[in-house]
Amino acid sequence: MFGKPRKSAVLTAAAIALASAATLSAASAPAWAQDVLRIGAPLALTGGLADEGKKQESVWQLWLDKINAAGGIKVGGKTMKVEIIKYDYQTDGKRAGQLAEKLITDDKVDVLMAPFGSGHTKIIAAVTERYQVPLLACVASSESVYDQSFKYLFGTLAPNSGMTDAMAALYKQKLPTLKKIAIYGRDDVFPKSMATSMATSAKAAGIEVAYNELYAVGTMDHSAAISAIKAAGADWIYMTGYTQDLILGRKQLNDLGVKAPIITMVTGPAYKEFTDGLGDLADGVTSSTWWHHATAYTGAAGVWPSTEAFYKDFTTAFKSDPDYVHASCAAAADVLVNAVQKAGSTDKAKVRDALEATDMLTFYGPIKFGPNHMNLGRDMPIIQVQGKDIKVLYPASIANAEMKLIK
């Protein structure tokens, strides 16, 4: 069994060499010039989260092109170019951590941007904290990521609890007979946190939690849970998960004849693929989201002076509507530049302090970090699929439709 050790050793060495070469060539070569702000970004460009990773990549490219077309950014009296160095971590959490370390030690980046999701952000935050490098997380909203007293981690999404309180209050107002909610969440960082948060918010709003269960990652069938939800007789079904779970869940609710006047699927309707995958069944489904392009902020600092300007640039470039991932990530890049400008250099400790003191309005909304470094809560939109459109139900300042109950 130990035959031909040399051949195997040579083959192994060759494989390692090839793999390293592939990794190196995948990254754009870093510029070592003095006046460049280097931003590191480990992204999930292949694997399960590839769609989300590509959203981040594309919006940052749009942002970067605008910045560099304007000649760069003014920092402490000189002009700096901005460069984003990215690696594909293939939706593998362990690899994300390794690449974050490589970006810091090999590529000498000044700051890092976190990838999609609370789980992977948490892994990278542990690395950046060790090396004391500022990390901006634009798609991590679970408080469990931020409650570790990390000094260098900042997030542009607001805490989940803000979303569930407002939703419970709104639905109670729109459907005064609302008595029972069934909560069914995916056992994963963000979806679980939303489900837990909703159970608390519903109880506080005087709604009985008639069913409250989690389903395992990789669940391919929800019929058992849906049969139990049917028996519970809830008039509000609240399901959390990723798009494929929610499509399957909504379809099985229909297949098994479960009806409720309110069906919420977090954050299904925020994604076009949810409505595409469900067709008519998506009609009436509600969700919370952190941002919607119907919001209208003007006089913003950063690359885009208003939500409208961002929307226009984005739709011109990509021929589709931006969602909260695009908006939050582009705004995070603005926040980062703002902090470097305030700090007057790329010194990591100074940038961190400037980030902590951030209080600015971006096209995405106001950004001010709370004690745990998450963006402070504001009125986050509640949206509903109505026909082929996504309508905003809340807050009143940007609402463009009345809530419809599912018949």
């Binding site: 990789g218 669940t219 391919m220 494929q244 004849g257 995958g277």
Partner: protein, 286 residues
């Protein structure tokens, strides 16, 4: 009523599970290859069906035979060119090779099709029989699962190719001496495994969202089903699939959906200890 509904849910799900596992079981049983590509084959079948429906308006049932044949050709070529080179090596070698091929196929699909979940949105409604609700698309999936596994069973028992496959499994050398072209039989077997995966993918495109995120889930299910049902026989996959479907359905209702999958794995572990051949597997295939 509840118990009957849960039983029906489990049976329908179980038939779909059987559909996943039958091709995987055949390849594992006959070629002694743990085919890591199986989950990606199913998803590829799902994508092809979706595209045929979306761009050409082709009904998934009509697309099924075409998709299955495309997958057969792909499986045949992959086995003939790559896997046959190492087919007699220890199982870890073939596993690593199919794992590598799977990484390529999986990432090609993610790059070109994206991981966005897609579904054939032709809702067929549900039938209500004595208060038990049966979604028609799943019932149709179940019928197709029985039909396909039945067809494979007949092919394996009654056709020359089927007997040649069994002969090669029993004794490679003796089969070669009898004039069977072993490498060709290997390629055909792998092709049939891929064909069954493609057919399963076509059925699934109606029932589940198609996304590359699910390849690992399908592969994991196939693995559990084969261990529960037993390798080396078509009915083994059917029994394993049905058993897993019913167990998950009852566990989901009684213990909560969080523990439904755990119970399937617990059963697999117990069977590995007390009955390695699985429920109805053939001795010598474990």
């Amino acid at each position: 009523m509840d118990i009957l509904q849960i039983l029906v849910n489990g049976l329908v799900l179980g038939a779909l599970y059987a559909c996943i596992a039958v091709g995987f079981s055949l390849v594992w049983g006959v070629l002694n290859i743990i085919n890591m590509l199986h989950g990606s084959f199913i998803i590829l079948g799902g994508y092809l069906t979706f595209f045929a429906w979306f761009y050409l308006g082709l009904n998934p049932i009509l697309a099924l035979p075409v998709v299955a044949l495309v997958l057969y050709a792909l499986g045949y070529v992959l086995q003939y060119i790559f896997i046959n080179k190492v087919v007699t090596s220890p199982v870890l070698t073939t596993l690593t090779l199919t794992f590598g091929l799977d990484m390529i196929l999986y990432n090609l699909m993610t790059v070109y099709f994206t991981a966005t979940p897609r579904r054939v949105t032709m809702d067929m409604g549900s039938a209500d029989i004595l208060g038990v609700i049966m979604p028609m698309d799943r019932v149709m999936g179940m019928a197709l699962a029985f039909l396909l596994t039945g067809l494979l069973y007949v092919v394996m028992r009654a056709s020359t190719i089927g007997r040649a496959i069994v002969a090669v499994r029993m004794d490679r050398q003796a089969a070669a001496l009898m004039g069977i072209r072993v490498n060709r039989i290997y390629a055909i077997t792998f092709g049939i495994g891929a064909l069954m995966a493609g057919a399963a993918g076509a059925v699934f495109a109606i029932v589940f969202p198609v996304t590359t995120n699910l390849t690992g889930v399908f592969l994991g299910k196939a693995f559990v089903i084969c261990v529960i049902g037993g390798l080396g026989s078509v009915p083994g996959a059917l029994v394993g699939g049905l058993a897993l479907g019913i167990i998950e359905s009852f566990a989901g209702f009684v213990l909560g959906p969080q523990h439904a999958m755990t119970l399937g794995f617990v059963l697999m572990l117990v069977l590995l200890v007390v009955r390695p051949t699985g429920l109805i597997g053939v001795k010598g295939y474990e």
